[in-house]
Symmetry: C2
């Protein structure tokens, strides 16, 4: 169950000891979410960082009753409303799951606890934050520098699993356009 996470952390901290791993493992919480359920609701404090063991989760804003997706995580990937998690303040995004999902949660207090008692985890925390920064930074770059068509092409080339598992209207908001416009772009690209 925890193999994926252990491997992940061992890449972040090559010299992670068995004892330290055990301390981490003891703090992990396995959670199960049926398709469509919320992991975190906008306005509430995000409770943890979630490793997706099985399934598919999504992060999104709700604006004027409309959803704007900003991220997805499938098996082996992490997801969190990280701003809310770090500051323990109300989330501006919600997280839900698009399929039945099993997530492994590292709750906020447990993580702070680890940082205090096992400082080596600061190294993991640093690399995780750096990784998340790079992720959002590149997402930003694509939104600001590519055309809608090129942003869709990017998903085809680099995140093809999203095309297969995520409804098209969610992908549309992910690349910053309306569902109808994406439909037209697809039509044009087929020719």
């Amino acid at each position: 169950m925890f193999d994926g996470i252990r491997q992940y952390y061992q890449e972040l901290i090559p010299k992670l000891s068995d004892e330290e791993w055990l301390q981490l493992e003891n703090r992990l919480v396995i959670e199960s979410y049926p398709k469509g359920s919320l992991i975190c609701r906008e306005g509430e404090n995000c409770k943890g960082v979630y490793y997706i063991h099985k399934g598919l989760a999504r992060l999104y804003y709700t604006v004027d009753g409309r959803e704007i997706c900003t991220g997805f995580a499938k098996e082996g990937e992490y997801l969190s409303e990280y701003d809310s998690f770090l500051t323990q303040s109300p989330a501006s995004q919600s997280m839900d799951v698009l399929e039945d999902t099993i997530a492994i949660n590292l709750p906020y207090e447990k993580m702070q606890d680890l940082y205090r008692n096992y400082p080596i985890f600061n190294q993991a925390g640093r690399k995780i934050a750096e990784g998340l920064f790079i992720l959002i930074s590149r997402y930003n770059t694509r939104l600001l520098t590519l055309s809608p068509e090129d942003r869709y092409q990017y998903i085809i080339d680099n995140q093809y699993h999203l095309i297969q598992r995520v409804p098209q209207y969610m992908l549309a908001s992910f690349i910053g356009i309306s569902p109808e416009h994406l439909s037209r772009i697809r039509k044009k690209m087929i020719r």
Copy 2:
């Protein structure tokens, strides 16, 4: 000269010792940039993280010969093309200075060196990365959830120094619209 930086790090690492601070200070490089000059050019590897001692620096993309600003840093603030810095790969943004600027640079190799020999700096590195994540994440939130007018209002309310020190056409790109459109928005807001 280094007072601001020292204070900054001591907030990140409350138990930073004099010895550790000295190790950091020895690795800092003071650099001087005349108005308009580049700190980092798109396509090159970003060499460091820059603390602005005096002056004003800017981060921006160049798309079809046009500039899109994504960040500014004044005295007491940090700036870097952090993706490029972390991965030591070509930058997708440039950094230049809008006024004569003195920056204090922590170069990449020196920073890695610190992480290796003084692991406590991982804690600072973690908090810096977390802070940068929050910064870009909220910038993203504003771009995705606010109208252009509200985005401009946000700058008035929260970053008024930018209104005073940054040309309006740069602010326009910062909030994601054309200079002409910002001019119209301002006119409408005055009424």
